[in-house]
C-alpha cells in the first residue's frame, strides 16, 4: 500500500515537473499570433489631431495612422484601426481588444507599470501657449492665471505636477475644447504640444508660444511580456528611420522632424 502511494506521489511530482518545464519552454507568440491572423489591430484616438484625426473624406488620417500603415505594411498584414477615447487606451490594450497602441501615447514611468513601450516615434515639446500680448516666461508667471489643459493627457500630468501653488488649472475633455477656451479667453494660457501650437499659429497670430516646460517622448504601447512583438517593432522603427519614412511622416503631419529619437 505504502509502495503504491509512493509511486503515485512520485508520478504526481514528475508530472508537475514536466508541466513547469513545459511552461518554461513556452515561447512568446505575440508576434506570430498577429502574422497568422493576417491582421494588426491598432488602437488610435481619432479625435487628437494631428496624431489621430479624419481627413476630408472622413477616413482615418494623421501621424499615428501613418505610422500604423507603415508598420502593418512591413509586417505584411492588414491594418484594422480601432478608434478609442483617451481614457480607454490602456484598458483596450491590457484587456486584449487591440494589439498595440499608437495613440499620441506619451511615455511615463507610471504608465510603464501597466504597459511596455517601444522606442519612441516622436519627441514632443510641451509648452505654454498664451495671447501674444501677455508676459509669461516661467511657471511662476502662471500663478493666479487660469491654465487650460486636456484631461488625462501627459500635458495634464505635467502641469499638475509642476504648477506653482496658486495656478488655476482648468481641465477640458478634448483638445478642441482646450483650444477653444484659449480662443475665447476662458483661460489665460494652455499647455500644448508643438504640433498643436503650429496648427494654431497657422490659424491666427494672436497667440504665442511662451516657453517650453518639458520634452515628451511618444512611443508605441505593447502589453507586458510581449517581448517578441516589441523587439520586432523596435527593429521596424529603426528601418523606418533609416529609410527616412518615419521622418517624412513627422514632417507631413507634425510639421517638425526630430533630429534623433531616444532609444532604450
Amino acid at each position: 500500500m505504502i509502495k503504491l502511494l509512493k509511486t503515485a506521489m512520485a508520478s504526481v511530482v514528475a508530472t508537475a515537473l514536466l508541466c513547469t518545464a513545459g511552461l518554461a519552454q513556452t515561447t512568446d507568440e505575440s508576434l506570430q499570433k498577429i502574422i497568422q491572423r493576417g491582421k494588426l489591430i491598432v488602437g488610435i484616438s481619432l479625435s487628437t489631431p494631428p496624431y489621430g484625426m479624419t481627413d476630408a473624406n472622413m477616413k482615418p488620417a494623421g501621424f499615428d495612422v501613418a505610422m500604423a500603415k507603415l508598420i502593418s505594411r512591413d509586417m505584411g498584414v492588414e491594418l484594422e484601426i480601432v478608434d478609442q477615447v483617451s481614457q480607454a487606451r490602456i484598458p483596450n490594450l491590457t484587456s486584449g481588444k487591440v494589439d498595440i497602441l499608437i495613440s499620441s501615447f506619451g511615455v511615463t514611468a507610471e504608465r510603464a507599470k501597466t504597459v511596455m513601450y517601444t522606442n519612441s516615434i516622436y519627441v514632443d515639446e510641451q509648452m505654454i501657449l498664451a495671447p501674444a500680448q501677455s508676459d509669461m516666461e516661467s511657471l511662476k508667471d502662471l500663478v493666479g492665471k487660469r491654465v487650460g489643459v486636456t484631461r488625462s493627457t501627459t500635458n495634464d500630468t505635467l502641469i499638475t505636477e509642476r504648477a506653482v501653488e496658486g495656478t488655476i488649472i482648468q481641465r477640458f475633455e478634448d483638445d478642441a475644447a482646450t483650444n477653444q477656451a484659449l480662443f475665447t479667453g476662458k483661460v489665460d494660457a494652455i499647455v500644448s504640444g508643438v504640433a498643436a501650437a503650429i496648427a494654431i499659429s497657422k490659424h491666427t497670430d494672436k497667440f504665442d508660444r511662451k516657453f517650453a516646460v518639458r520634452q515628451s517622448p511618444m512611443a508605441i504601447g505593447v502589453r507586458h511580456g510581449e517581448f517578441n512583438l516589441r523587439q520586432w517593432l523596435n527593429t521596424d522603427l529603426l528601418m523606418l528611420w533609416n529609410s527616412g519614412e518615419l521622418q517624412a511622416a513627422q514632417k507631413e503631419w507634425l510639421g517638425v522632424v526630430n533630429e534623433e529619437l531616444p532609444r532604450f
Binding site: 489631431p49 476630408a56 480607454a88 486584449g96 490659424h203
Partner: protein, 216 residues
Amino acid sequence: MMFQDFTMAHVYYMLNGLLWTIGLALIALTGGSIAGSVLALMAVSRNKLARRIAKLYIFVVQGTPLLVTLFIAYFGANYVGVDVPPLVAISIAFSFYAAAFLGEIWRGSINSVPMGQSEGSHALGLSRVDSMRFIIIPQAVKIATPPTVGFFVMLIKNTSLASVVSITELTRTSQIVSNATFKPLQVYLLAALFYFLVCFPLTIVSRRLEKRLHKS
C-alpha cells in the same frame, strides 16, 4: 493640413453616428423593457424571495454608474478570458441598467393603483393573474407613461457613453469632427439638434398616448 472646413462630409459622418445612436437606443429600450417588466412583476409578486431579489437588483444597479457597468461588461470579461464584442457589451450593460429603472417605475405604477381595484376584482371572482391583466395593469400603464418616456429620452442620451467601448456614435463623431475642424460650437449645436430630433417625437407620442388613455 489641419483646420478643415466644416463640410457636408462631416455632416454625413455625424448622421452615420446618429444611426448608431438610434440603433443603440433601440437595443437598450427593447432589452430594458423586457427585463424591466419581469423585474416589476417580481417586485409586486406574493413570493417573498422574488420580491427580495428584485429589490436587491434595483438597489445595486441604480446605485452604480452606467459607465462603470459598461467598463465591467466590456473590459472585465477579457480578464477572465472571454472576449466580448462592443455591441454585446453595450446590449448587456444598457439592458441591465434600464431594467432597474423601468422595473422600479413600473412597480411604483402598479402599486399606485388604488387597493380597492384589486379587492373589487377579487370580489368579482377574478384570479390574481386576470385581475393584474384586465384591471390593474391597464390603469398602471396610464400612470407609468410619462416617467417611462422621460426615462427613454434619458436613455437615448446616455448612449453617448458607448464611445468608451469604441463605438462611433453621435457624440463620438461630433468629438472627431469638432477636433478636425476646430469649430466645437457649430458641431455640438448640430449634434444637439440631432438628439432633439430623435427625442422630441418621443415626447409628442407620449402626450398623445396620455390623452388617449385618459379618454378611455
